[in-house]
Amino acid sequence: MKSRAASWLWILGLVLGVAHAGAESPVRFSDTEKQTILLHGPWPVATKPDPSNRVSGAPAAIAFGRALFNSSILAKDRDRSCAACHVAAKGFGDGRPRSIGIARVDRNAPGLYNLRLNRWFGWGGKSDTLWSQSIHPILDAKELGATPALIARRIAGNDRLAAAYRRTFGHEPAGKPPETVLVNVAKALAAFQETIVSGRTPFDTFRDALAKSRAAGIAAYPAAAKRGLKIFIGKGKCNICHFGPNFTNGEFHNIGIGYFVARGRVDKGRYGGIEALKASRYNLLGPYNDDTRRSTAGFTRRVRQHPANWGAFRVPSLRNLVATAPYMHDGSKPTLREAVRHYSELNEDRLHQTGEKLLRALRLSRREIADLIAFLNTLSETPRRK
């Protein structure tokens, strides 16, 4: 009897031993790593109305902006709206590498989540406010192709939109200079877009558990995501540019993506963005800034143009990125795996000579790529049950 029990114990021990050998050791973070991780929260972050836009945060403006966003009245031929290229189900992108308005444009339609946290808007940062950015697609001949006069006439001639305009701005659109009506339309569009904020994610739950040393919350975060997070803040140094709660430092970097958009034609990236910004009468130094103190205009006043700005594009937020494929300013990476592989196999020779020296080919293993993707997936909201 005794020897039989010993045999069972031996077998049990063997089974447990094998099981233990197959288990992975838990992923732990050093104090330095914890401090770095905590910088990516808390989420959401507190925000204030945009002082350059007097209707920022106003319910009437948000409602008017939503109506405009979904209306074809802003398109020259009344055949498309903002929502055609900024589809809610696609992270407010359109799923195409490069968007198609009246004609095919040079860049990918960026998602619209959390724009109110941006300092610069558009892939090249040619706008310093969300409202001035909103003017570009309305007037761009390849996008909606309208004119200030056309917009003013259509708003004034539409009873429903004219009433919404009046409720928002306190005056009739008729009789006002067309450019004033255009800018006000853009400010209402901005007020609406400011409300597009991504929700909390599995990463946020983990991050907050880590902040409060809650073992159960820390343990619930998948091991693969933890390993990917270690790469993100360690070997990958991804957090240097994808910094802070919104996973972007809001600036521009050359990451070795080609910028020839057609034979003999280049996308100047940030270099062209600064040129356009400085030339724009809709920037924060211009007459349409509602903040007489110009309290947010310092960046516009002081931004400087470098040769290194060529081929540099805005660092996008990584929140809700699962919904916003394809990736990069030209939509050249169809999947997250391709985007990660770009950094893994980076062609350093393609980087501009004065480009970001930080970037080096990461040479990630297949498992490391899978782990990094597992982490990136946790930066998106869990789909809500209907």
């Binding site: 540019c241 310092g298 002081r302 470098h306 004065t354 970001e356 020296k357």
Partner: protein
């Protein structure tokens, strides 16, 4: 200076010949008695980051005072910053407000990435400049 580790390393990149005291009057180094100090004789420099810790992406202000000799202020002070390991500088040009001879306030410096930054102070005498620098580790 929460969040910042100061690693002072005065680096000289140019030679400043003897400076005539006629070129500038007075010297305001005593205005920054409580600030950090750098020296490369005969130059002495004090600076103070206004408003506390430098944060990634947030504009900040530095007050600078310098003497290029006993009681002698420099003709001009210029400030800039770069990330040596990354090979780039700041994306914004700080603006200067003169507070007195050899005493300026520089506004709108922005460190747009976490890591080690090197701030350089160019001190201009009559016909030459001398550079002093300090490194800051900005993590948050």
């Amino acid at each position: 200076m929460t969040g910042i580790r100061l690693l002072v390393c005065a680096a000289l990149v140019a030679v400043l010949p003897s400076v005539s005291s006629a070129q500038a009057e007075g010297c305001a180094l005593d205005k920054l008695a409580a600030g950090s100090k750098l020296a490369a004789p005969p130059i002495r420099l004090g600076y103070r980051i206004v408003g506390g810790a430098v944060k990634v992406g947030a504009p900040f202000t530095i007050d600078v005072a310098a003497c290029i000799g006993p009681g002698t202020a420099p003709r001009r002070i210029r400030i800039d910053a770069r990330m040596p390991a990354h090979g780039h500088g700041m994306n914004y040009k700080p603006s200067e407000r003169k507070l007195g001879p050899g005493h300026s306030r520089f506004e709108g410096l922005v460190f747009h990435m976490p890591g080690r930054w090197e701030i350089s102070f160019d001190i201009f005498g009559a016909d030459a400049r001398k550079r002093l620098s300090v490194t800051l580790d900005v993590r948050r």
